[in-house]
Every structure is written in C-alpha cells, then in structure tokens.
C-alpha cells in the first residue's frame, strides 16, 4: 500500500512516516502543497494524507486541483482547525475522512484502514479468534466451548474486538463504537470495562487473547 503524506510541519510528517512505515505501508512525504500536488497527480497512491494549513498551496486547493484533474485517490484531511464549517468544506470537496489535531496515532491507523478497506467491517454471524467464539445471532460467547456470562455492553465490546482482530483499538474508538460517546472523557472508564471483560474471557484460561498496547489501546489477537 502506497501512501503520500503532504504536511509542512516536519516533525508531524516524520513521525507519521515512521509509524506508517512500521505498519507496513510504503510512505512518501512532501512538505508543501505544490510539490505534493505534483507527486499526487503523477504517482498512483492508494491514499493521500493531507494537511490543511500549508504554505504555497493549502490542502483544500490541493484536493480541488487533484479532483479537477480526475484523480480519485482517497484523501484523509489532517488539521488543527475543527470548526464544523471546515469539516463540511473538506468533505464537500471530496475528502474521504477528517481528523483533528491532536489525534491518537491508532485513531489515524483505524481511519486509514477503514478507508482502504472500502467496505463494512466483518459482519459475520460467527466471529472468533483461537478458541474464543461469538455467536452474534444468539448473542452468546464461548471460550474453549464454555459459555461466557457477559453483560450486553461486554458483549458489544467483545464483538468490536472480534470484528477487528489484530487491530489496535484506541480508547476513543471503543467509547465511540460501544457507547456512542463522542467526547474525550476524563476517565479510565474504557480501561475498567476492558479489564472486566478480560476477567471473564482471559483470566480463567492459560492463553491470553486480549492484550494491552501500552498507552495506545487494546488489541485482540493470538500471540
């Protein structure tokens, strides 16, 4: 997967490049809008990560020019401006997503994956990792063929992890997906909820599946 980052703030561009390269993406970086536009229109990228405020040419104008020339490469906006008008403008111009600084890196990763996946997340009746199985129709979960006693929210949390196995989920994303809470709360509510889920699905069994990614979030995978 080939990604272009157009971002004038060098530190941001550098850590994004590093992080995304480590996640297996091929990453090009451009530090201004003019050069970025040139690269974007000559090379076939899978995704462009675009900063809004840049010298020479701002992100909106890059996107506008790109779409005018017929390039339909998906674009994800990064910006420190987050008024509703800005958001609407970006999406109207044909951006695929919009992320406000400061953001968590896993958040960016999740958005990138969802744009590249270009489809709904796994929604099968039978979800599972290793010997952990989930029957979403009958609302039942099993580990090693033992029925797990989960509350409705714990069940929703587990479904979220099973729909995205191996993907690090940030606390923000979990709060949004499970509780529909779209603001950064001052608490460790998500940590508590995950800990309680873990007590039920992992603690009684030798093989641990739900892992903490320090400071970032949680991932469900077989290690």
């Amino acid at each position: 997967m080939h990604i272009l980052i157009i971002e004038d703030e060098k530190k941001t561009a550098a850590y994004l490049q590093k992080g995304l390269t480590e996640q297996g993406f091929t990453v090009d970086v451009s530090n201004d809008g003019e050069e970025g536009l040139l690269l974007a229109s000559t090379v076939d990228y899978d995704l462009i990560i675009l900063d809004v405020m840049m010298p020479l040419r701002d992100g909106w104008s890059v996107l506008q020019e790109l779409r005018r020339s017929g390039k339909l490469t998906p674009v994800l906006f990064l910006t420190a401006r987050d008024s509703i008008d800005d958001r609407v403008k970006g999406l109207e111009l044909g951006a695929d997503d919009y992320l406000v600084k400061p953001f968590a890196f896993v958040e960016l990763l999740a958005r990138i994956r969802s744009i590249l996946r270009r489809g709904p997340v796994r929604q099968t009746e039978q979800l599972g990792v290793a010997d952990l199985k989930l029957d979403s129709v009958r609302h039942k979960a099993f580990r090693n063929n033992q029925r797990l006693d989960l509350s409705p929210k714990e069940f929703a949390l587990l479904s979220l992890f099973l729909q995205r196995p191996g993907e690090v989920l940030s606390r923000t994303l979990i709060a949004e997906q499970v509780w529909d809470v779209h603001f950064d709360s001052d608490t460790n509510i998500v940590d508590v909820a995950v800990r309680r889920l873990r007590q039920k699905i992992d603690d009684p069994f030798p093989q641990k599946l739900l892992h903490t990614v320090r400071g970032v979030g949680y991932v469900l995978e077989e290690r």
């Binding site: 987050d82 008024s83 509703i84 400061p102 509350s151 409705p152 929210k153 709060a175 509780w179 529909d180 809470v181 779209h182 603001f183 950064d184 709360s185 001052d186 608490t187 460790n188 509510i189 508590v192 909820a193 309680r196 320090r214 400071g215 970032v216």
Partner: protein, 463 residues
C-alpha cells in the same frame, strides 16, 4: 434608513438652531404686530376723517338752495390740513360734476373711484396715481332730493412712506436681533455643554489598569450625575471581567504548568543515562498520559470558547429521557461497580436536547458523583418531565457533599473544591455542564449538604 444612518447633529448645533428658530418666531411676530397696529391706526384715522368730511359736505348740500360758495369754502379748507391734502368732487344724480376742488382733475371720476354706496357702507380704496402720490378714495351717494354723489380723495403719500420706512427698520432690527441671538445661542450652548467635555476628558483618562477610578456623581450637574453613575457601574463590570480574565489566565498557566513540568522532568531524567527498553516504554507511556491531559484541556477550553460564542450547532431533538439516562449509566456502570457504587435510573418522559451534549453533561456529573461517593453509596438519576414540555434531571449522590462557600463558584473554569485533588480531570467538567445548559437555554442548580450528599438539578426548557 438614510436618515438614521446619517451622523446626528451636534447638541450645540441643535440648541443653536432651536434658539434661532424661537428668536426669529418671537421677533417677527412682535415686528409684524407693531407694523400692523400702526397701519391699522392710520387707516382708521383716515377713514374717520373722510367720513367726517363727507358728513360736513352733506350738511352743506342739505341747505336749500345749495350754497355753492360755502361748499367751495368747505372744500378749500381741506387744502392745508395736517393730515394731508384732500380733494373732493360733488356730482349730481346722473354723475355730472357740479363742483370740484382744484387738483381733482388728476383723479378721474369713474376710473379710480369705487362704486358709490351709502355712507354707512362706504369703503376707502387706496390708489397710486401717475405722479407717485397715493390716495384713499371714497364715493358716497347722498339720497336726498335731488340726489348727489360725493367723491373724496385723501393724499396719504406721507403715511405710506412712513410705513415703508417703519417696515424697513423693523426688518433690519429683526435681522440684527437674529444675529445677536445666534451668537448668544452658540455661546450659551457651548458654555452649557462644557460639563460634557469635562466628563469626556475624565473618561478618556481611565485606562485598563485604573478601572477602579470612579467618577464622583456629586461633582457633576444633575443631568450628568446619572451618566457618571452608569459609567461607574460599567467600570465595575469591566473591572470584574478583567479580574476574571486575569484569574483565568493565571489558572490556565498553572494547569498547564503541572503536566509540562512532569514531561520535562521525566524526559530529562530518562535521558541522563541509558536505560532498558522497558524503562523507556514506561516513561513514554507516562508522557503520553500527560499529553492526553494537555490535549483534553485544550479541547475543553476550545469547547467552552465556542459555546460562549454560540458556535456549537445545537442538534436538538425530542429524546426519550429514560433511554438517555440508561445509556449514560451503562457507560459508567463498570467504573461505578469498581468503586462499589450503585447507579439507579428513575422516571419517564421526553425532553428537548442535543443527544451528544446531553450525554456529555450527564457523563461529567456522574463522574463527579462517583468520585465523591464512598463505597456502598448510590448515585441516582431522576427524570421529571412536565406537561408543558420542559423537563428536569436530578443527579443525586449520597457522597461527601460540598460546603456552601464553594457552591457559587462550582461552575467556574478550573475551580476545585479541594485544590489538592488537581490530578483528577481538567477542572473544566462543571464549566462545560453549565455552558451546555446555557446553550440549551436551561439551567444548572447545585444543592449540597456536607456528609449527606449533593443534588445537581438540570432544567431543560420546553422550547
């Protein structure tokens, strides 16, 4: 519109204009009255004189036979009268002239004179003839046997000239009077308005750091003392806002100082010698927590600033209140259970609110309640909706409670009941609650009793 947008007249100009207007009305009415009364006196004197003369001539004509010599004498007497020369002509019933005074030939019988009338209805007619003299002419028919017609003319050239001069003088005096009254009006207006300039000078002298300087209302005339009082009140409000702003900046700096200090210190210590990967990870993780805290403070401040400028779009909808309460409870359930606290939802009904913002309000309040309630406690969310569409939500805990002195400041930014507990949260939770309730046109009320617990009442209006 154009009238409104035009710059209003200066008060000096208004006062001057009004003074000139009233002076000119008064002066011209007086002048007009004086002129008219003089002219009327002249006209009345002249008419009386003419009637008297006609009566005299009539009495001579009534003597039988008519003594033409006496008549001529009578007519001749008019020549050296001080009133002005007068002339007369006596005609028979058919209009043929019987006798006339010399000079009467300049005044033809029919052309200038009015129609003959009875003496009681006789009217004078003013005429100017070719040599420049002005006369009052009168024609009277004498119904005797045989009938006579008397025409009489009085030279009033002198009077007309007199009146004209008088008029000229009056107009001159009027203009002179207006000139003086204009000057006087400008001087009076300037003088009268000088306290305004003084008070403006006083106001100009007040800068941001002397907001405590007040104007003493006793120093100013009655009309301006109200201005001074209003100005003082404004100064006080400004001073209060300034103090709040300063306090806010200081608090903000203080809030930022702690996480920045942690970040700097931890990083410096970490770099002072080489460490194991685990140690580095731990430090980075700890740093990340501080960054998140900074990021939350920034987000919360931005939210408050936007809410204050009402830049946050309110997506109000009719919500099932109970469902919203339960959704928020389910989010906090795990945390409450960890702390050994029971969450209870009560009541039914609808309320008009923005679902996400309502969630944020309830979430902040629940968090506070959970944090300040001991193990085994209970936090109760109660919804009461009224028939008019308004609704109240009560968030009640049986925790430690808050002393009364803190209650009024509870919703201030960065205000903490216990400054030592500054690690928890951003200190902006209740400020956000209040700003969201303000956006909804609702209100927040906190009732608390130490040792018994706290109730926060949220009122949502009907809209």
């Amino acid at each position: 519109m154009s009238l409104k947008s035009a710059k209003p007249w200066s008060i000096t100009a208004r006062l001057t204009f009004l003074s000139i207007l009233s002076a000119s009305i008064i002066l011209s009415s007086i002048g007009g009255y004086l002129y008219q009364s003089l002219a009327d006196t002249f006209a009345q004197d002249n008419r009386q004189f003419l009637i008297k003369e006609i009566q005299l001539l009539r009495s001579v004509l009534q003597e039988q036979p008519v003594n033409l010599e006496r008549l001529a004498d009578e007519q001749g007497e008019g020549l050296d009268l001080s009133v002005g020369q007068y002339y007369s002509r006596i005609m028979d019933g058919s209009g043929d002239s019987l006798i006339e005074t010399p000079g009467m030939e300049l005044l033809p019988k029919a052309v200038l004179f009015p129609e003959a009338t009875n003496i009681s209805a006789a009217k004078g007619s003013e005429q100017k003839i070719s040599d420049g003299r002005t006369f009052i002419l009168m024609t009277v028919r004498n119904e005797s046997r045989p009938p006579y017609i008397i025409q009489i003319a009085l030279d009033i050239t002198h009077e007309v000239t007199l009146l004209a001069n008088y008029q000229r003088n009056l107009i001159g005096a009027l203009f002179l009077g207006l000139l003086f009254s204009t000057i006087a009006a400008i001087l009076v207006a300037r003088r009268g308005l000088s306290p305004f300039a003084d008070i403006a000078r006083h106001m100009e002298g007040i800068t941001a750091n002397q907001l405590h300087e007040q104007l003493d209302p006793a120093d100013w005339p009655k009309e301006l003392s109200t201005v001074a009082v209003a100005f003082n009140a404004m100064l006080q409000r400004l001073a209060k806002s300034f103090a709040q702003l300063n306090q806010f900046s200081a608090d903000l700096a203080h809030e930022l100082r702690t996480p920045i200090n942690n970040l700097m210190g931890e990083t410096e210590v970490a770099l002072s010698k080489s460490r194991s990967t685990d140690e580095y990870c731990e430090i980075l993780e700890s740093n990340l927590e501080e960054y998140r805290r900074l990021s939350r403070i920034v987000e919360a401040l931005l939210f408050l600033a936007r809410a204050e400028n009402t830049e946050i779009p309110l997506r109000t909808a009719k919500l099932d209140g109970r469902a919203e309460l339960e959704a928020v409870c389910s989010y906090h359930e795990a945390l409450a259970e960890e702390n050994g606290i029971r969450l209870v939802c009560q009541g039914q009904g609808f309320l008009n609110a923005d679902a996400q913002l309502l969630k944020r309000v309830l979430s902040n309040l629940l968090l506070n309640a959970i944090q300040h309630t001991a193990i085994g406690g209970e936090v109760c969310l109660t919804l009461r909706s009224a028939d008019d569409g308004s609704a109240d939500i009560y968030v009640q805990d049986n925790g430690c409670g808050i002393t009364a002195e803190h209650l009024p400041k509870l919703c201030d930014r960065f205000y903490r009941v216990d400054p030592a507990r500054s690690e928890e949260g951003t200190g902006l939770g209740l400020a956000i609650v209040k700003s969201i309730m303000d956006l909804h046109g609702g209100s927040v009320t906190v009732i608390s009793e130490v040792g018994k617990g706290t109730v926060v009442k949220l009122h949502f209006s009907a809209q």
